[in-house]
Symmetry: C2
Subunit: 242 residues, 2 copies
Amino acid sequence: MTSRDPPFGKLISKLRAMGSLDDEDVRAIEVLPSRLARANARGQLVRNGDVPAECCLLIEGYAARSKTAVDGRRQIVSFHIPGDLLDLQHLFLPRADHDVQAITGATVVWIPMAALRSLIASRPNVGAAFWRDALIDASIFREWVLNVGRRDAKTRIAHMLCEFIARCEAAGVGTPQRIRLPFSQDEIADATGLTPIHVNRMLRELTEDRLIRRDGREITIDDWRGFQRAAGFDAAYLHAAA
Amino acid sequence: MTSRDPPFGKLISKLRAMGSLDDEDVRAIEVLPSRLARANARGQLVRNGDVPAECCLLIEGYAARSKTAVDGRRQIVSFHIPGDLLDLQHLFLPRADHDVQAITGATVVWIPMAALRSLIASRPNVGAAFWRDALIDASIFREWVLNVGRRDAKTRIAHMLCEFIARCEAAGVGTPQRIRLPFSQDEIADATGLTPIHVNRMLRELTEDRLIRRDGREITIDDWRGFQRAAGFDAAYLHAAA
DNA sequence: CGCGCGCTTGATCGATCTCAAAGGTGGTGG
DNA sequence: CCACCACCTTTGAGATCGATCAAGCGCGCG
């Protein structure tokens, strides 16, 4: 990673960590046509039902993918960090089945679908890396089904925090020791299928249990191993670089 | 579909429905090396932590994909029907992060990963179809996160039934009018994040509400539209052939 | 200075779980 | 052919986790 991240820097280092990209592949990604843009907190990046012609790459800031039930209840199904492609699936599934929005101010880059399509056609390694990335996303969704379906509130929140921290660390954003959470308690509630009120109480209990320390949205974890154990967290499902 | 389904019949018609496979592509799938096998109910097809060398294609019968929390609580994350590839992801993610087991007696076919790898390398259309299939799986996982996170017990069970019925119908197995469920109430509980006892009561209530009629595991739905509405079910996320 | 959003806390309610037990049903072996 | 066994379904009673309703607080921003 360079000190001044070029637009594709984090994406390339992520793909590199998990696949076999040669210099040609990297070059092909770097010359992808792209349009830099800025999103406000709560800005919509992908809208349910849309047929996007561009793919959104998150450069800086954080985003959440969410679905809404007919009665209006909202469920966040994943969080995204810099370097994540937010809707690569629209290469093959034209119509969006969910929303993606920035949860902080964010910098993104829009890449024409057509360019990505020809990229993966001409560079099979890149196609494989993208595919693999999509499969990791799917693995994370499965873990979330387990999280929301079979873990109690406190463990569930702890698990969500573990995942977020582990992914941020792998992406070189923050350390397990001390991290600034980008999400409000409302957003944690929507991600865990709980009520913001209950999230608040559980965060208090996690603090009382000395598993975390909090200062606003800044979180400190003194015993990272112990916290993972308490959360029932096993990073295998993230399929990080072996 | 032929009257005597050849091993790849259902898979090919599924891929055909959603992509553009030419005759060469179909031929390439049909000549895939494969090993026919039989699995008992509850037989393990993929085991968490394994590094499978073959990919499992479900020919007949039903299967469930599940994960287990550290405290032993189990969550089913998807159901599978004939024509589904059960672990295509191991093309790119060597180590299984979950279990797959037959929930009825089942017929499967094992295909060497290497053969699949060269198939997608030589036939880009097939690769795209597989990729698309994986993305639909991911979309279903997202819907399950919403289902388990934000719907009440009765709606949640109804939604799960809707999805199963819709997928069976699309695959040409059964009709919405009348369908035999392959799963026990225990399995419905594990899929919905509920208790089997509560599943039983909710099934009773769905019956009392005249949304379904039951005769053992045989279910009849008189008003399919009305049932979908009651379940908050919108099939868009299945991304069926446009 | 005031307003809005997010955080915090208390009190009560209710959906779902847990514990307990009985009744079916289909398959298997004697 | 029957008897048993394993597994599944059903029902009741009581406990509990997390939701809902209701306020108040603090801080950043216009």
